[in-house]
């Protein structure tokens, strides 16, 4: 099943204004893996994602998706293989109704109308949005839009799902629903996110990007356990690993002792 592999070798990208977004990025993601790419603002996450679908051409280095190197000739096949879900669902939904939007990809693949109808129904049911089929996308709530945006990509049966900040802007319930949905997928999944608790739940592996290079790459729990590394990359432990702020466990206790020691002034 080598066709679900994403391999990035010595990737470098310099923007037209001379900003070096990616210096030397190397990693390989295997079939069925769920990987988070995290990092501070401006670390190069979005630039990296735009390479995986061939929007940006590397200044140097190589990207291989499955068995193909990413070139102009392989681009159509790679764009079908890699389903890209954008941070702002409004960028992704542009047709008059949800149905048309979800059908946009399958139609472009040249599928017959009946097959398209069936696929649209299936994926909308899968993401729990079948009742929205005939609605215009701009009337949906944030969570619904996100789910429809995912459906638009799923309808093309991608092997690899790439998502930029999937939980941004969602309320706790919609976020929980989305995490549940993403957990069930069996695709190779690549996320970028600042929602590290989501990363902890969804990804067994995490890659930290820092100033255009891969600073760390390993099991998520291990990486989140290394506070020095996180601080260096302008990150923090996920809240769920930080101890309870109410019941007195973890940091709170530490803070209290500090407060007593410094005569009531809390510097932490």
């Amino acid at each position: 099943m080598s066709h679900h592999i994403v391999a990035v070798k010595h990737l470098k990208y310099v923007y037209a204004d001379g900003t070096v977004a990616l210096q030397d990025v190397n990693f390989t993601i295997h079939h069925g893996e769920s990987v988070a790419i995290i990092g501070a603002n401006g670390a190069g996450k979005s630039t990296l994602l735009l390479h995986l679908n061939g929007y940006l051409t590397p200044t140097a280095g190589e990207i291989r998706i499955g068995d193909f190197p990413l070139t102009k000739q392989t681009l159509p096949e790679i764009r079908r293989t890699v389903g890209m879900i954008f941070q702002d669902p409004d960028d992704q939904l542009f047709m008059p109704t949800v149905f048309d939007d979800v059908a946009f990809g399958p139609f472009n693949l040249g599928l017959p109308v009946d097959e398209v109808r069936q696929r649209v129904r299936e994926v909308l049911e899968q993401v729990g949005a079948a009742h929205l089929m005939e609605k215009p996308p701009y009337h949906l709530s944030g969570g619904e839009k996100k789910r429809v945006a995912i459906a638009t990509v799923l309808s093309m049966s991608p092997d690899i799902l790439v998502m930029d900040e999937p939980t941004s802007g969602l309320d706790p319930f919609a976020r929980r629903q989305l995490i549940g949905l993403l957990k069930d997928f069996r695709h190779t999944r690549i996320f970028t996110s600042h929602d590290l608790d989501m990363v902890l739940e969804l990804c067994e592996r995490t890659i930290i990007l820092h100033q255009g290079v891969v600073k760390a790459d390993g099991p998520t729990l291990e990486i989140f356990g290394d506070e020095a590394l996180l601080a260096e990359c302008r990150l923090e432990k996920p809240l769920s690993m930080q101890g309870c702020p109410v019941c007195g466990q973890g940091r709170r206790e530490q803070r209290n002792t500090e407060r007593k020691g410094s005569g009531g002034v809390n510097n932490s």
Partner: protein, 299 residues
């Protein structure tokens, strides 16, 4: 005691007094820009309906509309009465397709001022009296001005109804099938698509400006210059992101529609029927003919 018994009215507090007119204007303004966009989108949504007219092949509707527009436009400038029978087409189509009449009329109403500007000078320059209605002398200028307005109402109405019963996407597809170069139809589609992007960005930018200018004029014209510049760049970036999303889903310059339809007998009859009527009404003055018929019957 008296003061206590009075109900609390927030408008009486000075703070609220200050805010009310401004926030009222503000919400009204926002509603107008966003509302106009939503209103246009509504036209596209109407096209998802299901009726005898909706089910026809898009090419038939495009061709009929073309013949209609050419017939209406090709009348000479003083023609007035002969235009009225043409209202039959938009009225019949809209009612068969269950389009909301009030909405279409409002949409057309938005264009009338522009038509009036075009014809406004005619009464001043063309003062030759053509018709006398008792003591009232109607000059050629007034007739041609009215003719321009009626033609606008007819053609714009027909175009609105075409989009309302077909959808912009399908209209472009039909144009392509009828031989228009694809580059042109795709440009047209993008133009249509990006109108929404531009107006949405515009509404956001102007809202941000107004919220910070506290009901006054802000920085005046100067701030508008940079606002428009930003708007262009933001729209550009957003358009690029949308284009990316389209490419990601295999867009190759072709839009597809779920409606499968063929140009059959029904379409042929539709085009032929309406076209014959339009050409006849163009050559014969239908209103006069009807008038003669009625007076003939009465006498």
């Amino acid at each position: 005691m008296r003061r206590k018994s009075r109900r609390f009215d927030p408008r009486l507090t000075p703070h609220f007094k200050l805010l009310t007119p401004h926030s009222y204007l503000l919400t009204n303004h926002m509603r107008s820009i966003d509302g106009a966009v939503l209103d246009l989108k509504r036209l596209d949504l109407l096209a998802t309906g299901d009726s005898v007219i909706h089910r026809l092949d898009a090419r038939a509707k495009v061709l009929t509309t073309l013949v209609f527009i050419i017939s209406v436009v090709s009348f000479n400038r003083y023609e007035f009465t002969a235009l009225f029978p043409f209202f039959l087409y938009p009225v019949v189509t809209a009612s068969l397709a269950n389009l909301p009449g009030g909405y279409i009329v409002r949409k057309i109403g938005m264009v009338i001022p522009f038509a009036f500007v075009v014809g406004m000078l005619n009464p001043l320059f063309d003062r030759e009296v053509l018709v006398r209605l008792g003591p009232l002398a109607v000059t050629g200028g007034w007739i041609s001005c009215a003719s321009i307005i009626i033609r606008t109402v007819l053609t714009v109405g027909a175009a609105f109804i075409l989009v309302g019963v077909t959808g912009f996407l399908a209209v472009c597809q039909a144009l392509e099938k009828l031989g228009t170069p694809r580059t042109f139809t795709v440009q047209l589609l993008f133009l249509y698509r990006y109108i929404f992007v531009l107006t949405e960005e515009g509404a956001r930018a102007s809202r941000a400006r107004e919220l910070r200018s506290c009901g006054r004029k802000g920085l005046g014209l100067a701030s508008f210059g940079s606002l428009i510049g930003h708007l262009l760049i933001r729209t550009w970036l957003r358009a690029e992101r949308i284009h990316m999303a389209m490419l990601a889903r295999g867009f190759t310059g072709e839009f597809h529609s779920r409606q499968v339809s063929a140009f059959g007998w029904r379409e042929l009859c539709y085009v032929a029927g309406w076209s014959t009527l339009f050409v006849t009404l163009r050559l014969e003055n239908g209103a006069q003919w009807l008038g003669r018929l009625v007076t003939g019957l009465l006498s």
